[in-house]
C-alpha cells in the first residue's frame, strides 16, 4: 500500500520542548521581576530569559517548517487507534515506557530488587514477547549478575529493599 502525503503533522520533540520552554520563560519573567539586586550581577533570570526566547524562536520556526512541508507517511495499521501519542510512540515503545516509568515510580515502595524484576521480566515478556522460560531464566541470571557486579565486586552501597 502506498504511503500518503499530508500537511500539518509535526514531530513531538519541538512541541514538548516549546511547552517546557514556555514555563521556563514565564518563571524567568517572574524571577526577573522579583530580582531587586542593584549590583553588577545580571541575576538568575537573565540567561534563561534570553536563551529561552532564542530557543523558543528556533523551535517554533522548525514547527512552522514541519507544518508547511508535505510529508509522505507510511500506511497506518488497521487496528491502530487515532491520536497523536500513538504516532510518536508505537505499541512496543509505549509498553516499554510504561514499564520503565512504573518500575521507577514503584521503586520507593517495592525496593530496587523488585523494581528490577518488574522491569526485566516485563520487558522480556511483554515488549520482546519471549517465552516464560526465557523470561524467568534471563531475569534470574541478569539480576544475579547485577548483584554480583555492583554489590559483591564493586561494593556500591545500594538499598535493595524498600526503606521502611
Amino acid at each position: 500500500m502506498a504511503g500518503r502525503t499530508r500537511r500539518g503533522r509535526v514531530s513531538a520533540f519541538p512541541v514538548l520542548a516549546c511547552l517546557w520552554l514556555g514555563t521556563v520563560v514565564w518563571q524567568a519573567v517572574e524571577l526577573a521581576a522579583r530580582h531587586t539586586d542593584t549590583s553588577a550581577d545580571l541575576g538568575p533570570a537573565f540567561l534563561p530569559l534570553a536563551l529561552g526566547a532564542l530557543v523558543l524562536v528556533l523551535l517554533t520556526a522548525d514547527l512552522v517548517r514541519q507544518a508547511r512541508a508535505p510529508r509522505t507517511e507510511p500506511p497506518e495499521p488497521q487496528d491502530a487507534t487515532a491520536g497523536g501519542l500513538r504516532r510518536w510512540f508505537e505499541p512496543p515503545l509505549r509498553r516499554f515506557a510504561v514499564l520503565a516509568a512504573a518500575a521507577a515510580a514503584l521503586g520507593p515502595w517495592i525496593g530496587l530488587a523488585a523494581a528490577m524484576i518488574v522491569l526485566i521480566a516485563g520487558c522480556l515478556r511483554y515488549v520482546e514477547r519471549r517465552t516464560w522460560t526465557q523470561t524467568i531464566v534471563t531475569t534470574v541470571v541478569l539480576v544475579a549478575a547485577l548483584y554480583v557486579v555492583f554489590v559483591v565486586l564493586l561494593q556500591v552501597p545500594i538499598d535493595l529493599l524498600p526503606a521502611y
Binding site: A40, L42, A97, A104, M116
Partner: protein, 506 residues
C-alpha cells in the same frame, strides 16, 4: 624531561597496582565488545558503564573510563568489517574498504590491519596528549572569567556548526542543554529556578542521569523500535578470522598520516572522531596512486581512518583535562568521571592532582597496548560474542541504566528523571535534534553562566571586559569568523540546492 618523569609516575601507578591494571583490562574488553555492537557507540557505552566506577579509587575509576573509551573506539570497527554495520558514527568509514576486504575472504587481515592502525593512531594521540596537555594547562593562567565565557561560547558554536543535523536544530539543542543546567538553586544568589517546588531538583539534573537517559535509555528504545536484532546472513569461516600478522607494516605511513589528522582534528571541540575519519579517508584517496581501488577493499582506505579514529581520543582529552572543557560527548563522560571522584577539571588539575592526571594520560598508552594484544588474539572470540550477546542487549542495557542511576544516591527520583530523559532522547533522535549538543549544553551550561556573570561582577558591569585583553580579542575574532563562515556555508548550500531544484524542473 619533567614530562617523562611525570609520565613514568603515571605508568607506575597503573602497572604497580594489579587491581588498576585489571580494571584497565576489563575496561578495554567491555569497551571493545559493547562498542562492537552496532548502534551502541562509545558514548553510550561510557554512559551505561559509568556507574561501574562508583566503588573504585580515583585512579582506577578514571583508568577504567579511559579504557572503555579506547576500547569502544577499537570495537566500533569490528561490526563494520564483519557485518557492514558501523558500531558507531566514527566507524562508518571503516565499512568502505573493511567490509569489501571481508567479502574477499580477508577478514583476519582486515581486523588485524585495523587493530594495528588503531594502535598506531592511539600512539600518535598519546604522544600529542602527553606533550601538549601540560603546556596548554600552563597557558590557561591567561584565562579569566571573560576568556572562559568566550571559550565556552566558541566550543558550543563549533559543536552546533559542525553537527550533522541542521544548524538551527543543533543550536536549539545546545540552548536546551544550557537551560536544563539552570534548573535548581542559582549558584550565585540561591534563587530557586524551574524546579516546580520539587526538592529533589534543588541540585539540578545530575549530568550522569541526563547522559545515561539520553544516550543509554534512548538507545534501548531505538532497539525496541527496530526489533533489537542484527541482520546478518553471512556465516564467516572460522579460519578466516585468525590474523595473518604479515604485510601489515606496509601501511604504516598511511596509519601515521591518519593518526596525525585524527589527533589534530580531535583537539577541536565539536569536530570529533567521525570528521577525523572522513578527512583521513579523503586525504588518502586524494593523494594516493591507487585511488580507483578505494571502496573496493583498499587496505589504505581502512588503515588511515582507523588510525584517525583512535588518535582523536588523545586530541579530545587535551581540552577536557587542561581546560575542563570537553570537546565531545566522550570527553564530557571523562569530565563527569573526574567530577565524580572529587576532582575539578581544569588547569589546576595538573598542579593539585598531577599524579591522577598523569595516570589518566598513561592509561591511554596502557589501554592501547592491551587493546592491540586483545584485538589480534581474540578476534574469533569477538565475532562469536557479538552474535551471542546481541539478542539480550536491550534488557541488559535497560537494567544497567536503572541500577547505575539508582546507585548514584539511592534515589528513585533520579531513575524517574532518567526515564524522562530517555524518552526525550528518543524523541530528539526521531526529530533529528543532536543528542551530543544537548549533553554539551548541560555540561558547559554552568561554566557559561557562572563565568559570564562573574566577568561582569568583577568588571562592575563594564561589558568591555569581553574585548579588552589579547586572549578575548583572539577568541572574539574567532567567534566572529566562525559565525560568518557558518552563515556563508549555509547561504552557499541554499543557493546550490535552489540551483539543483531549478535544473531538475527545467
Amino acid at each position: 624531561m619533567e614530562t617523562l618523569t611525570l609520565l613514568s609516575g603515571g605508568l607506575t601507578a597503573i602497572l604497580s597496582d594489579p587491581a588498576t591494571l585489571a580494571w584497565c583490562a576489563l575496561g578495554v574488553t567491555i569497551g571493545t565488545v559493547v562498542g562492537a555492537l552496532p548502534g551502541i557507540g562509545t558514548v553510550t557505552t561510557m554512559a551505561v558503564l559509568l556507574p561501574l566506577t562508583f566503588g573504585l579509587s580515583p585512579v582506577s575509576a578514571l583508568v577504567l573510563l579511559v579504557a572503555i573509551y579506547m576500547g569502544g573506539m577499537f570495537g566500533g570497527r569490528i561490526s563494520s568489517i564483519l557485518l557492514n554495520i558501523p558500531g558507531d558514527a566514527s566507524s562508518v568509514v571503516s565499512t568502505f574498504d573493511g567490509y569489501p576486504l571481508a567479502r574477499q575472504g580477508r577478514v583476519g587481515y582486515a581486523l588485524t590491519l585495523s587493530a594495528v592502525a588503531s594502535f598506531v593512531g592511539g600512539l600518535v594521540g598519546f604522544a600529542g596528549l602527553a606533550l601538549l596537555a601540560a603546556v596548554l594547562a600552563k597557558a590557561a593562567i591567561l584565562f579569566g572569567p571573560a576568556e572562559y565565557f568566550l571559550l565556552v561560547c566558541l566550543v558550543l558554536l563549533l559543536t552546533s556548526g559542525i553537527s550533522n543535523s541542521t544548524r538551527p536544530k543543533a543550536i536549539a539543542a545546545v540552548g536546551l542543554g544550557v537551560l536544563v543546567s539552570t534548573v535548581g538553586l542559582d549558584r550565585i544568589t540561591g534563587d530557586e529556578r524551574f524546579t516546580w517546588g520539587i526538592v529533589d531538583l534543588w541540585d539540578g539534573a545530575d549530568l550522569v542521569v541526563v547522559a545515561i537517559g539520553i544516550f543509554g535509555l534512548s538507545e534501548v528504545i531505538v532497539r525496541i523500535r527496530d526489533g533489537g536484532k542484527i541482520e546478518s546472513t553471512d556465516k564467516l569461516p572460522l579460519r578466516s578470522l585468525f590474523p595473518p600478522a604479515r604485510s601489515v607494516a606496509r601501511y604504516t605511513p598511511s596509519m601515521a598520516r591518519g593518526g596525525l589528522i585524527g589527533f589534530l582534528i580531535g583537539i577541536f571541540p565539536g569536530a570529533g572522531a567521525s570528521m577525523a575519519t572522513f578527512i583521513a579517508y579523503a586525504a588518502e584517496k586524494t593523494f594516493g596512486k591507487d585511488r580507483e581501488s578505494f571502496g573496493k577493499g583498499n587496505p589504505r582506505g581502512l588503515a588511515a581512518p582507523e588510525a584517525a579514529d583512535n588518535a582523536s581520543v588523545g586530541g579530545a582529552l587535551i581540552p577536557t583535562l587542561s581546560l575542563g572543557i570537553p570537546g565531545s560527548a566522550s570527553g564530557a563522560m571523562i569530565l563527569g568521571g573526574l567530577v565524580m571522584v572529587g576532582l575539578q577539571p581544569g588547569p589546576e588539575l595538573f598542579t593539585k592532582s598531577a599524579d591522577i592526571v598523569w595516570a589518566v594520560i598513561a592509561a591511554v598508552l596502557v589501554a592501547n597496548v592491551l587493546l592491540l594484544v586483545l584485538n589480534t588474539v581474540l578476534v574469533p572470540f569477538f565475532a562469536t560474542a557479538l552474535r551471542v550477546i546481541s539478542p539480550y542487549l536491550t534488557v541488559f542495557i535497560a537494567s544497567l541504566c536503572f541500577v547505575g542511576v539508582y546507585s548514584l544516591r539511592s534515589n528513585f527520583f533520579d531513575v524517574l528523571l532518567m526515564v524522562a530523559f530517555g524518552l526525550i532522547g528518543y524523541l530528539m533522535r526521531r526529530s533529528g535534534y543532536p543528542l551530543t549538543s544537548l549533553l554539551l549544553g548541560v555540561v558547559l551550561g554552568p561554566m557559561l553562566e557562572d563565568n559570564f556573570r562573574r566577568a561582569l561582577l568583577v568588571s562592575r558591569g563594564d561589558w568591555s571586559v569581553f574585548w579588552s585583553s589579547p586572549v578575548t580579542v583572539i577568541l572574539l575574532t574567532t567567534i566572529v569568523v566562525a559565525v560568518v563562515a557558518l552563515l556563508a556555508h549555509a547561504g552557499w548550500r541554499r543557493t546550490r540546492a535552489r540551483a539543483e531544484r531549478t535544473a531538475v524542473m527545467s
